[in-house]
Structures are given as C-alpha cells and as structure tokens.
Symmetry: C2
Subunit: 386 residues, 2 copies
Amino acid sequence: MINCPYWQTKRTRVCGIMTGTSLDGVDVAVCDFWIINNIKHYELIAFKTFDISNQIKSKILDVCSQNILISDVSDLNFALSFLYKEAVESLLSEFSILISTIDCFGVHGQTVWHSPIPKKIAKFSVSSTLQLFNGSSFAKLINKPVIYDFRSADIALGGNGAPLIPIFDFEFFASDEEDVVFLNIGGVSNVTYLPKGKDKNKVKAWDTGPGNILIDFATNHFYNQPFDKNGEHSLNGNVNYELFDELKSISFIKTPPPKSTGRELFSKSYFESLVNKYIIEPDDFLSTFSYFTAYSIAENIRLFANRTNTIIASGGGIHNQSIMNNLKIELPNANIKTTEHLGLNPDAKEAVCFAFLAFQFLCGFKSNIISVTGASEETILGVLAL
Amino acid sequence: MINCPYWQTKRTRVCGIMTGTSLDGVDVAVCDFWIINNIKHYELIAFKTFDISNQIKSKILDVCSQNILISDVSDLNFALSFLYKEAVESLLSEFSILISTIDCFGVHGQTVWHSPIPKKIAKFSVSSTLQLFNGSSFAKLINKPVIYDFRSADIALGGNGAPLIPIFDFEFFASDEEDVVFLNIGGVSNVTYLPKGKDKNKVKAWDTGPGNILIDFATNHFYNQPFDKNGEHSLNGNVNYELFDELKSISFIKTPPPKSTGRELFSKSYFESLVNKYIIEPDDFLSTFSYFTAYSIAENIRLFANRTNTIIASGGGIHNQSIMNNLKIELPNANIKTTEHLGLNPDAKEAVCFAFLAFQFLCGFKSNIISVTGASEETILGVLAL
C-alpha cells in the first residue's frame, strides 16, 4: 500500500540514488526516516559514490549535446537501471545491509533536458523536463518499489521543477531561533534561506553565481585536471583585482531572487575570453575565480538574507580550502559549518534528499515549496513503479 | 490508496487512452469495472476517437524516423498530456460525464521504440521500449491518478512487452465450453487463442501476417486514399492467382507461433516490387491482397488453433467487407463475429483494454500472460502518477 498513513507510523528505510549533470558518479545513500509527534527524523545508514563507466558517460553526453536516434534514449533509460542496480548491490554488500530491509527506492535519474520556460508545440504552451531512467524496469530488476521523476509535477503546475532540496532543509534544519542559510557549492552555487520561525511560505532558494565551474575550467585548461584538489592552486596564487572587478560587474550577482543560472552565463567560451584578455599566472586566475565565487555567495547573503548567522555548506566546493577561507573573510560574523556538523556527510546530502522525497511520496506528503519553485500549488512529487 | 484490496470491492471507473503507431487518432474510453465472486465485469460507458493534429503527428513521425534533439522528446512527452486532456474533456462533455466520477486514467502513450531483443550497451545486455508521454504532468493537468508505461516491466523480465490485450480477452471472454480466437485486423493481423477451460497458461497469441497494410499501400498508390473504405475496391477486382501464390509462399505464414511481424516483412518496398512485377488492374491487386490477408489468418487458425469454433474480430479490417467475406469462405465452419456481438464496440477495444490494465494495477493484480509474452514471471504492469 502506497500513499497511505501506514508509512507515517513506522521507521521506513529508503535507498536514494542521485546522478548529477556533471556525471561525476552515482551517489547511493541508504537512509531511515520516521515521524514522532509530527516531527520527522532521519538517520543515514550508508553512503558511497560509484563510478560511471566512460562508455555510459559518453552516451549520456551525446544525448545532451547532439542529434540522436530515439533508440539511444530508450536504451539509456533501461541501461541506467542496470548501472544503478550494480551500484546498489555494491553498497549493500560493503555495509552488510540486507535488501529485504529496504522499503523502497527514490531515484533522481539523469537530467538531459530541463526547460521550465514554456514553448509553443502545435497549439500548446509546453514546459518540460526529462530525466533518463525507466523506473519500471529498475523496480523489476531490484524487486522493490521505485519512486522517480520528481521534477515533472512541479513543472506541470507552472513551477521551475527546481530546486527540490529545500523541503529537506526546511523539515530537518529550520530553526525557531535564527535564520539559517544552506549553501551548496556545486558547478554553480545555490542557497536555501530559512528565516527563523519555521514558516514554509517564507523559504527562499536561488542560485548565487559560480560554484566550481570557473575553477574547473581553469584547472582543466592550465593543468589538464578536472578540479583544483583542496584548492591548492587557488591558495598558491594572488587575486587579480582588474579581473575580479570585471567578474563583480556581472549583473546576475546582484539581481534579486528568484534567479537561476548555469552554463549559459558561466560558459567555456566566457572563460576562454577571460584567458585571452588577462595575461596573468594560471594560479592567479584560480585564486581570482575562487575569491569571486566566495564574494558572489557572500554578496547574495548580505543583500537577500542579511540576518543570517549560520551558514551550512555542502557540495564539492567545500573541499576547496581557498573558497572556504575567502567565505570566512567575506562574512566575518557568520558561523560557517558543513552539514557534517549536523551529522550528515555533505557529499551524501543530495542522495539523502531524494530518498526523503520518496518517503514523502509513500506518506502522501507534498514536497514542492511554491515560494521556491513558483508552482501554482503544492503537490506530491514523483511517480511509483511497483 | 493504491494497489490494495479496496479497489476489488467497489465499482471503479477508469478512462483509457490509446494512440497506436498508425497515428490515426486518440481513442478515449470511459469504462466501469467491478468484481463479484472473483469474476470481473466491465461496462463501456463512453467512447470516441479524436484527431491528432498534423503538427503533432509530424513531430511524432520525426522522432520515430530521423535524428532528433533530446528537447524534441522532452517536449512531446509533455505535449501529449495537453492533447489527451483536450480529448478527454471533449468526450466527458459530449457524454455528460462528470470527471469527479472517474477514479483513474490508464494511458498507453505513443510507442516510438520497441526492441525486446537485447543489445549490448556498455557491459549491459539491454532490451527496451519507449512510449512518449509524461504521466506525472498529465496527472497534474487532469487532477487524477494516472497509470501508464505498461510495457516496460514485462520487457525488464525478459518478455516481449507485447501483446498485452490477451489478459483482457482471457478475463472476460475465455469459455469453459469452446476454443475461442480473438482476431485483431490492424496494420498486421494478430490472434489471441483461448483454449476451452480458462487456463491462463494455455493462452497463446501471435501475428498471422498482414492486416490492412498491403491494402493500404495499394489504395494509397493507386487512388491516393489512406485505406479501402468498406473494401469497395477489393470487392470490385479479381484475385490474381500468380500473385497470390507468390504471397502464399512467404514462410512467415506457416511458421509456428510465437511469432510477430510488422513493416520489416510487409514493407512499402516489398509492395513496390510487386507492383513492378505484376501488370494487373489496381482492383485486382486489392482483391488479391484482401484474399491473402484472409487466407493467412485462416491458415494460422487451421494450423495452430484448429479446434476453434468461434472467432471474434476487431480492428479496422473488420470494416473491409472483402476481407470478412473471404474469411468466411476460408473458414466455412467457424462462427465469425465481431466484439459488437459481445456488447463491445470493436473500435473501442484497445482503449478499454488499457483502462482494464489500470484497474488491474489499482487492485494489485498481475497482467502479463507469460505464455504469450515470454517473460520470466507474471507482474503488475504500469507505473503510477498521483
């Protein structure tokens, strides 16, 4: 039985699976959820990131970027079920977890298209989103219920279908005593702002500007490495204030929320134009990008979440010491922590969130926050394969 | 609450939506289902076929036949929800049915890829099927639960994901007293063979050869019309036995089931090769194709369902008087009827079947017949959007 109060009365074990657009791995988290006196609780039981083979990675990138055949899409939908199954079985075996203890799976799928802005298709005005993944085939392979396609319902209700993480932040970490900002430093950086008082209607979330994207371009360009490990190159250089002033003038940074950005604004070609224009040391580029990333996050918090005392960070960027140092310099009065301080491995957060969204579906709870996504109403997110 | 005994105790109203690969319309059926003493019952409340606009049709054909962008796939998934919503609202309004009386929807979606034969994707052996349609967006637009993607689970269990109609024939029309054949004359012809005694394990289903496909090619070629209305041209010509003997020699016809065919064998280029080889009147082509269609159906029944007394026909071909006359000539002892004799509009049958599959999901019943699809086990078919 699904979508029913039964699930609100027991400790429920959900396995969440997340693969982001950066294709840096399959995140798998096993997490327990339960409710006592209307308060939700969770416990992360196991987490690990698994590699995506180059063959699958290149097929996904092809689907995103070039002309394809419909058979490619169909095949990948089903192939991901095999990839995820392998990852899940490794995790369960490594942590000695019996699959029989798992009640259901919550799977994000692989985003290959996301367009909340309506477009004319015949006479219809259509927004759409597409996460590759066939939930029904995965449910049969793994022999458990699977909840997936979490973004479509919000899109259909006129929302952006994103971000979906804020409901997790709100349920578990909103405070009666102080404003809290959750900061995720991924390719771009985004924040969830939780004003004190636990009022869902006051939650806001938006992108602040770059996360690791400019730094990644630079380490790739200068050092042929995917990212600046621990921020070593960034720490080694000096900020170039001419370049910094140019970056600072990007109007997106001070635009009031709601707002979102991505590879359109912080593109490879924009990076290349900067490399051609400024004749400076590689590590000075990295140092400046790292400082700009921290500055743009801080400026957004100063402008749009100015009573914030506590900032709780997650995402790959927290491992970049240069970004984290600069953030402390820019926001000297803020208490900056990672989700580790709340007992949650920051790398596991997204996979745990999608496990939580599946738990919400089981219970029949609505998960989109309309002040965040812009949807016309709250709704249950996800679809169910048995 | 879904997948639960509650639905087995009440009269449940389901709206079924079917769009076939021929793109000749959106079939919408409203149908009630209920169970008394373990016997399932149904009543068709309303049915109509709605046009698919040329714009949508040509976008679907593009997706099936040429290189596309992933955005085309994503947009069509959501656009079909708008198309189906419009059709449903027209039907409900025409028949004065309140949407509040409908418990859920069962939607086939638009098949654009179907490949039960496994193929290597990275290291995985992958079969797949893809029906365009985003169930979550439709559920939000129509504000009702939607059950869809009925073929994937059977494919994931090693089956063909088709045919799915036999469970409907078995549940409602299998007889204790006599063998019954359900014949569907679509583009190709297929049969469900229900030996007497209501034993699900003995049900068989297969394609017999052409349905209207060769006749459609000929009316298109000679008369620039999509099909031979009522079989008028076929009735007007004479069978050319030289051509008939060539068609009769196609080995597929006498191959034992399970077997399936389509546009690979009865292709436009095969038709064109016949037109170039035989210098005969257009109506003689039509007459011969019509006779061959009836012959290949009859031969399959004689060879593989030879105790059959009763044949119950549906599909567009039942409106072709020439096919139906020839069938009676070829099977003089059989009692040939259409589903109309069982109180079911033959044009509505497929939409009613997908409504029934949704009802089965609600009840928690398994719907694939493994002697028909070849899957390793029986399973609940479909996924649920709330």
